[in-house]
């Protein structure tokens, strides 16, 4: 069974098309990542799926319920964490959790068990009496997640949950998500971080309101026809600049201390790269073809999108 399904889901704000004919299905019991740069329309999709926004056109079914006609049924069964998860900062950790439990109508008997579990896996047990406003960013994050889970939802929608959270807290957060997954919760998470996208079972690449590709991270990587040449140079930043000038900015990108060059003709371009850098007196270490990373795919897909002249 699909946890959610959309058909030509479209949202237009005045003249701006935030989501453009999105057709997608997400099977139950997995982590689905909605991946795209800022402004791709991820948040709008999440809101449409959480049934707090009415689509301009198209339809969506979440857990089998229609997102407009049965909005309230959806709300009972999903957990949603908005980008800026709103906590009552003047309430304590436990007061926040209890408040959401009350609003979701969690019965007293089930609540004790759930709250204990939530506190333990989020590591907030010791901070129950602390005000939410006094928690660190990562802790707030976990409290937000705990609040979205008080009613044991079957589907969890997380809108850029780790935005602005330190790497250690991000790892903790993902550990919690895997635990939830093991308990059978379907998770849809939007993110602009590609390392997070790699952690998802399936991803959908979004750009300018449109879904460009879906599949497992490996599937999506296979979409890439070009080969990636990894160039090691002593001054990677300058090397990248030189190569961009010569080969076009879509083909070249900087990955830490390495430069990636996308090419259809790896043999010929290996020579060319070496030649170009030598001319600029940049010392070249090693040039070799590598497996594309998600970011390579992303850069390449976005570049093609731009070439095709499709603009939102």
């Amino acid at each position: 069974m699909d946890a959610l399904r959309t058909e030509n889901l479209t949202k237009i704000f005045k003249r701006f098309t935030a989501v453009d004919r999105l057709t997608l299905s997400v099977p139950a019991g997995g982590i689905f990542g909605l991946v795209g740069p800022d402004g791709a329309g991820k948040t709008t999709v999440m809101r449409l799926l959480a049934a707090v926004m009415i689509p301009t056109a198209g339809e969506a079914w979440v857990l089998g319920h229609h997102s407009v006609r049965e909005a309230e049924r959806i709300k009972e069964r999903i957990g949603y964490m908005s980008q800026r998860f709103g906590l009552y900062e003047d309430l304590t950790v436990i007061e926040n959790i209890n408040f959401y439990s009350d609003i979701y109508g969690v019965t007293a008997g089930r609540r004790r068990e759930t709250v204990r579990e939530l506190l333990s896996f989020s590591g907030l047990e010791a901070f129950q009496k602390r005000r939410a406003g006094d928690l660190s960013g990562g802790m707030k994050q976990k409290l937000g997640l705990a609040c979205a889970l008080v009613h044991r939802p079957a589907l969890l929608l997380l809108d850029e949950p780790t935005n602005g959270v330190d790497p250690v807290s991000r790892r903790d957060f993902w550990r919690i998500l895997y635990r939830l997954l093991a308990e059978g919760v379907t998770i849809v998470v939007s993110t602009a971080y590609l390392d997070e996208a790699e952690r998802c079972g399936r991803i959908g690449l979004m750009h300018k309101g449109r879904l460009l590709a879906t599949g497992t991270p490996a599937d999506v990587k296979r979409l890439m026809k070009e080969t990636i040449l990894e160039v090691r140079a002593t001054v990677p930043r300058r090397a990248a600049a030189v190569l961009k000038d010569a080969m076009g900015s879509e083909a070249v990108s900087l990955f830490g201390d390495k430069v990636h060059v996308a090419t259809d003709v790896p043999g010929k371009d290996t020579e060319m790269v070496a030649e170009l850098l030598r001319k600029e007196r940049i010392e070249v270490g090693d040039i070799r073809p590598v497996e594309p990373e998600l970011e390579d795919v992303f850069v390449s897909v976005l570049a093609k999108d731009r070439e095709n002249g499709i603009h939102g």
Binding site: E72, F85, Y88
Partner: protein
């Protein structure tokens, strides 16, 4: 459904009372306002500093001056020795009024001619000046009448009956014309409006600002539950404020309460509906707490000025008077003053109560229509 509302209410109370500044606003500010209006703001005119210049230095002049001095309204503080000196005293503001009797004041009276008493009054504060003139006329009239009687008596060699029309004024409902009796019931209307308006308008906007609004909207809560959860706590706080102000007003300032307390509370409930409705409406149209605060004051100040709290509505230009018909404060002032001072009941106050009920339900309905769980 009831459970959820109760939880919302409890949450609001926790939030309000956890903030010490909020506690002060709710409980201290009304009492402070009451003290200001009870002690400091008084339109009663008493102890007007007065100068007396009697050019003839006559016995009758002294007698007249003494009558002024012995009344509660005037304190004779200076005896200038020239007209010019009297003027200077007024110019400097040392005295508010000067009584001037020219040479021949006594002779004129004795000879049966009209004697002129000149009253110079500082008219910068026109209201006070008007009242002072009234007192002066009263004292002078008494004096004239006595002089006349005395002379008639002397002429006929007997005492005459007092066959004259004597003015005996009696103010009903506020016998001593104490301004605090007039203002303190008004403070109830004003403070309750301000506090409930502020709390309600902030309550929803704050949730929008910190992002909890979106989170609440994805829960199964109904808009009605949300609205009740956001208004009931502030309604209760409004009631508590009414009780505090009433208790302090009645027991400390001895403002009489002649009507039914039950009716007062019932009318307060109607009035609170309008305040909560306006607050909720402001909350739905504002994006930030600053905007809500500005809108609250933009509504509140005209509402107070055009309510008859300080300035009588009858004195306002006619179009402005029409405007006051949509001002809930106007109606509630009539009700509180009626209940406190006149002791009148619903048989007389029903039109005001009906007006509040209509306005309250209308604005609450409009505001709640604006709160929806889905955005488009």
């Amino acid at each position: 459904m009831g459970e959820r509302i109760i939880r919302m209410v409890i949450k609001e109370f926790i939030q309000v009372f956890r903030d010490p500044r909020m506690k002060a606003v709710i409980f201290v500010v009304p009492v402070l306002q009451l003290l200001i209006f009870g002690y400091a703001v008084s339109t009663d005119v008493r102890h007007v500093p007065t100068a007396v210049y009697d050019a003839g230095n006559s016995a009758i002049g002294r007698d007249l001056a003494a009558r002024f001095g012995s009344s509660d309204y005037f304190d004779i503080t200076d005896y200038p020795r020239s007209h010019a000196e009297a003027e200077r005293l007024i110019d400097r503001g040392d005295v508010r009024m000067a009584l001037v009797m020219n040479e021949g004041f006594e002779e004129n009276l004795r000879a049966g001619r009209t004697a002129h008493l000149q009253v110079i009054i500082d008219g910068t504060d026109s209201n006070t000046a008007g009242m002072v003139l009234g007192y002066v006329a009263g004292v002078t009239a008494d004096f004239s009448q006595e002089v006349m009687m005395e002379r008639l008596g002397r002429a006929r060699g007997m005492t005459v009956g007092q066959e004259a029309v004597e003015l005996r004024t009696r103010a009903w409902f506020n016998e001593n014309l104490e301004s605090r009796n007039y203002y303190i019931p008004g403070v109830i209307a004003m403070m309750v409006m301000l506090i409930t308006l502020m709390l309600t308008s902030m309550a929803v906007v704050r949730e929008k600002e910190i992002g909890t609004m979106e989170q609440i909207m994805v829960t199964p809560i109904t808009p009605l539950e949300f609205i009740l959860g956001k208004t009931i706590p502030f309604g209760i706080i409004g009631f508590v404020d009414v009780i505090i102000i009433t208790v302090v007003g009645v027991f400390w300032f001895e403002v009489p309460i002649r009507g039914s307390l039950l009716l007062l509370f019932f009318a307060t409930a109607l009035y609170l509906m309008t305040a909560l409705g306006v607050g909720l409406f402001i909350s739905t149209v504002s994006g930030t707490q600053q905007q809500a605060m500005m809108s609250t004051f933009f509504f509140f100040f005209p509402a107070v000025l055009l309510s008859g709290f300080m300035f009588p509505i009858a004195n306002m230009p006619e179009p402005v008077q029409w405007l006051t018909y949509i001002n809930p404060l106007r109606y509630f002032l009539v009700i509180v003053r009626g209940i406190f001072l006149k002791g009148i009941g619903a048989d007389i106050l029903w039109p005001q109560m009906a007006a509040l009920a209509v306005m309250g339900t209308t604005i609450l309905w409009v505001a709640s229509r604006r709160i929806t769980k889905t955005s488009s």
